[in-house]
Symmetry: D3
Subunit: 191 residues, 6 copies
């Protein structure tokens, strides 16, 4: 029952412009495969380039939120948006970053009520407030985040990652983007 990669044309690594071929190639070398999002965005190189730049600016940032916390924001908001690609792909990364084989499935199952420590809960609550009915996002949400100790820079990161995946989830819904088979098992314990 598994579908194709995307509803739109897919570009393989060697069909990409040189800078993107190198950049996506480096990811593929590290992962062992080319994540389908890059194959699906490849027919629009300028958009793929901007997407990678935005992604790296937020997800590879070294201060403030940990790498696992950044993935937590992605999995929580992508679950609230029912985005299969992002939940499966970033769920895999969250398993690895958090060194926890269950956390991603628990967050994806119910991001509103998954048991997290106070900081994790504050991060996810802030993200969910902005992800769904963002017109009502306001000072009360920020006050709760600050009360849990999040800095202004961390609040920006949670908000901006939520915003980037609001975009990413919609691209995945537009394309009916299918997760690579590898993502389903990455970071799970050997049985």
């Amino acid at each position: 029952m598994s579908g194709d990669v995307s509803r739109f044309p897919v570009v393989e690594l060697d069909g990409l412009p040189e800078d993107l071929r190198e950049r996506v190639g480096a990811i593929a070398e590290k992962s062992g495969f080319v994540p389908n999002i890059f194959r699906a965005l490849g027919h629009r190189p300028a958009e793929l380039r901007a997407f990678l730049d935005y992604h790296d600016a937020l997800m590879d940032r070294s201060d403030g939120l940990s790498k696992a916390e950044r993935e937590l924001v992605v999995v929580a908001t992508s679950s609230a948006n029912h985005c299969t690609y992002c939940v499966v792909a970033h769920g895999a990364i969250l398993r690895i970053r958090a060194k926890d084989p269950e956390l991603a499935d628990r967050v994806a199952g119910n991001p509103w009520q998954v048991e997290l420590d106070e900081r994790g809960r504050a991060i996810v609550d802030l993200a969910l407030a902005l992800a769904r009915d963002s017109a009502k996002f306001g000072e009360a949400d920020l006050a709760r985040a600050r009360a849990a100790g999040l800095t202004e820079d961390e609040i920006w990161d949670v908000g901006a990652i939520t915003a980037l995946f609001a975009l990413s989830n919609r691209l995945a819904h537009l394309t009916a983007l299918s997760p690579n088979p590898e993502f389903f098992t990455m970071g799970r314990p050997a049985q």
Copy 2:
């Protein structure tokens, strides 16, 4: 970050009345562990007994829907309700019943748009129509199910399984029921 089994008292196998100990014991022997739902309902034996009876009457029925299709209804509606326990536990069973390591995560990711064959799509659409805003369920939903070839008995099964897991999802939300660790990996390919 994993929590306890339930917000309410948990009863182990040997604390159950004899009939339930035998019945749940048989499941435990087959699975290799006691699914937490039975430990969480055990302090109310009459309710656990009725739950098991209702479950078996619908999920072990041999005509009409296949076993995999019954689990498809459970995973789709439990995902729409964001019920972690039911998605993780029945996702595991769906992987086994459908002999498909990805289907459960795809259905859980987005039950409204997961790619399924026509019959599967009709089953899931019918289930979702009844699971969420059931006041609007009506003849149009039934007509679509019949047009896809579902019999009246199959329609009843889809509806009744959806109804049973409307109950089950709420018991899991009431208790903050935690899935057994085994469910997260059952039916996944060895890495």
Copy 3:
């Protein structure tokens, strides 16, 4: 404009297996008629049996919540789900149990804002939180219930009754179940 009893086959008392005939017969003798839910579930005896068992385990329980409070949960959540059968049938029972000819219509009219004493309000708020958007049900809901004096066992009862009628409401929507004419007037004052 009144419709038939159910969209699916109906079984009369003498078409039921013996144990169910006796059990439903006893109810009919007490009420003066066979409530349509039993006629509608009768073509699936194992399901009807489990339904009756679950119902009795929760609704006939003698400690904790009063009988009227149990019916209050049913009417409030069935109204939130716009289930005509359950509102009309259990509204009748609530009139009788609460010895109040207006309460059921007031609760059905607007369960969120009907004026109740503090305990009644806490029971209904807890039930509504779990009935509708149950993914968001959590510690804050439980804390409010405890603050109003509900015991853990009473909280379980409110939650489990809400869960059972989440099932029941969906069976009624599946079948377009019609209330018996008697329910519309039971417990109302003579005019």
Copy 4:
């Protein structure tokens, strides 16, 4: 558990300006009691006067929709808005106008799926489309109404009555308006 009439000051018949005293008095004479909506609006005579004028212009109109159909719109939309006063008071009038002791409770129970003839269904569907998420009301809703034979004047009436009770429902929610005891039983068969 029954509350007061209104959260705001109540004016009795003899406290009203003369024209309103006569007008409300005539209603009271016919009904046998002063409906609470008039007691609750009485402290703002100009608003009560305009409300009565608007009400009479739409509900006492003799061509097009029947009196029962006008009440059907009121009960259906007031149920969708969970307005206890309007459901109970106009439910009583609907029982009398339609000479049907069950219709009002059936419509109030679930206006989206209550079984009605084709014209009744078209009237209620049009009303519900405008009552709730009116931003999406459009040509498709009008086309369905016309296909069921509603004239432009009847469509206006359905829409305008829905609009008037969008106002009325909110006044009842603002004031926590309590229905007069008489409304609960009017038009019900003697037991």
Copy 5:
């Protein structure tokens, strides 16, 4: 791309009954044009008369809320209901009453989060609570309004204006009412 005035027949000033011709004529003289709402309601003189009476009773009242605050309620709730006519027409009046060329667009953009002083915020929050999901309107909403210093009469005004424009928004949606071109620029600074 601009449409006609209304989906239903339009009546010009000289086609109105004398009292309405004078009354609407006075408005037209002051504004320089006949607002389309009067042309669209003109084919139902009794309804137009009641609408004008209700409108004047609430919007021309001199004590309590200022004229600008009354328009603030209209723009905020009409934006929540996505009513183009009311947002554009009353946005123009709000610009004039509040002597602020930006306020109306800010309120219409996002009434839930627009920055207002404490009193303005309380007025808009009260109005929004009653405008949208009015079944949940209750004591908590009133308590917040009182805490911000609103009197009982001011609370009534906010609630009643919200109710009147729940009607008005639905008439505009019913008729696909088009704002007069003049409203788009009234009260804006010369460029």
Copy 6:
């Protein structure tokens, strides 16, 4: 009552890195002012750079959708998300691109029902389907867009612009971004 530009630090043109200073400077020269979005994103130059790249890749593209149609997507989805900054700023651009002083306010007022030609309607419907409840976006939405003559590349553009402004709207909600005063009047006729 107008607030500050952003809840987070603002960077003026001469505080930006050279490439961004030139790029934003060119926009400022053309517009006569620095749009606040650039001042608000300036403290994160890598994110501002990616945002500008993504924006230009989609909004300055010369084939397929016209410039006005691209702005139509922005105003419609930003209105559905109640994003004041994007509605006011891109409303101004839409007035200019479409050479229509009313269109932006009409679209912002009610994007679901604003009267548009068939192609415009198809563009806006596709955008709204993806903007709000994107989990349900699917083949039926695409089929309607194709039936109205949109090419695959145009569909991608509508989807990708919707996705980019899902991000942009959330950044504006995160920062409580205030529109520059110039945007409120740009493209409006002299009075």
